[in-house]
């Protein structure tokens, strides 16, 4: 069994004809929390969908637990996905089911466990995210942070080997932010998982991750341990880590000259 749970080699992907990712090389070792950072629209969610097999690579390969995701047939892909959890940006809880039923969903779909055992498992998972008391609420009654924690409980229901988090910190208040970060680290360590965290929240993720990849405009521009990243002199990383407004990533979207557009150029 290889040490690397996720391995991506020379991966490129294009939506119809627009290249979103090019030449990505990325590895996540078992038991690690690996962060993928980059500004919005750089292709982070796309990368997750490629790992989950919802999109097929235009070029290159993605291996998860030794299997090439893009080459699996329908049954093989679904078998692999049972051992992956994915946390969507806004939780993606089933809005017509209670918190309890959401967490029980995969257990009911994929196992023949009796209802008492499902109950024990659901309560255990909800307890792990601190929301056992919320089991009877409906998703519409949850705050954003709670919804994501319920989604996390749902994602770990079948004890996956890999969890992918899509922007788990976006839009959270500082307290929920710390809670979410701790939770990701703790679950990874106690359940023996591997976690991939897509985020643009540098400060929070540097506290909890083992390794970081920076993506900009579809290519990996920097990588390293949190110490490497903090010490990095690369302009892009420096701008990102210190939250500077202008740098290699410009503040302005490409536009014609301002004065000209206002008609001042002719005056």
């Amino acid at each position: 069994m290889s040490d690397n749970l996720v391995e991506i080699r020379d991966l490129s992907f294009a939506y119809t004809d627009r290249l979103v990712l090019q030449g990505i090389n990325l590895t996540a070792r078992r038991g690690q929390v690996v962060a993928i950072m980059g500004n919005s629209g750089c292709g982070k969610t796309t990368l997750m969908r490629l790992i989950g097999g919802q999109l097929k690579p235009t070029r290159g390969k993605v291996w998860v637990d030794g299997q090439s995701v893009g080459d699996l047939d329908f049954a093989g892909l679904y078998r692999l996905r049972r051992r992956m959890g994915m946390l969507f940006q806004f939780g993606a809880l089933f809005t017509d089911m209670s918190v309890y039923d959401n967490v029980a969903f995969q257990l009911r779909e994929h196992t023949d466990l009796p209802e008492e055992m499902i109950r024990d498992l659901v309560l255990m998972k909800l307890n792990a995210v601190g929301l056992r008391g919320a089991q009877d609420l409906m998703p519409s009654e949850l705050s954003g942070g709670m919804a994501r924690r319920v989604a996390l409980a749902r994602a770990i229901a079948l004890d996956p080997m890999l969890i992918m988090y899509d922007e788990p910190f976006a839009g959270l208040d500082p307290i929920s932010l710390g809670v979410a970060g701790d939770l990701i680290r703790r679950l990874t360590d106690t359940l023996g998982l591997t976690s991939l965290v897509v985020t643009h929240d540098v400060q929070e993720s540097l506290k909890i991750v083992d390794y970081v990849y920076f993506i900009s405009e579809g290519v990996i521009v920097a990588q390293g341990t949190p110490q490497d990243i903090r010490a990095s002199e690369l302009p892009y990383v420096h701008q990102f880590v210190h939250g500077e407004e202008d740098g290699p990533v410009p503040f302005h979207h490409p536009a014609p000259d301002y004065a000209e557009e206002l008609g001042l150029a002719h005056a």
Binding site: G52, Q54, R82, M86, F90, A92, F94, T95, E109, H110
Partner: protein
Amino acid sequence: MPETLLAPLRRLGGRVVHSVWRLGLATRFFFLTLLYSGTCVRRPHLVVKEIFSAGVLSLIIILVSGLFVGMVLGLQGYETLQTYGSEEALGILVALSLVRELGPVVAALLFASRAGSAMTAEIGLMKATEQISALEMMAVDPIARVVAPRFWGGVISMPLLAALFSAMGIFGGYLVGVVLIGVDEGAFWSQMQAAVDFRDDILNGVIKSVVFGVVVTVIALYEGYDAPPTAEGVSRATTRTVVSSSLAILAWDFVLTSFMFRGV
């Protein structure tokens, strides 16, 4: 000059190709739904839940509309029949109009705007909030788990709703014709019983409503599944469901009627 003439033509052509393309995709979607219906057989409670939301929740509007349509038929029918002195035939007129045409067609139109639009909006929103993606990532096929139960729920509900619509309509015709106007009660029922044929009238009406049920639910589910995952996309898809399924109902009604009743 030819350029100004060509542009609208090209747009028209583009639209036609686009529509044919979508029709093809919707047909493929329909067959996929049938192919993945195994889950519904193994877990019938999934279908029962959808019969509740598509069928039971449409009951009120169907029953009330049926009653009023029947009462109007009673009034109008009496007015016309009276001029020929054959008021007793009112029962036949009301019953045949309802079981052959109005029951299946009007119930299906109401079903499209009540249950069809709800299905489109629900599936479109599930897609917009990534619930469909979440299902796929949990190794649960959304067609089997979300689409197929709604399809069967709709297809089973539709003929039942049409039958209830007709029954209410006949009752409405009876209220107006017999109770209010005073047509002979015995003649009303016995003429109806003698003239309505099980195979030619009732069964054909049921076949129509099954076809309409398939047409409406497939359009509603496909529009929802195909909707762009935004608020605007879902609202447009909902409108399209009501418009296209109403047109499809009327077109299919003509086709089916022309096969079933050839005036012989």
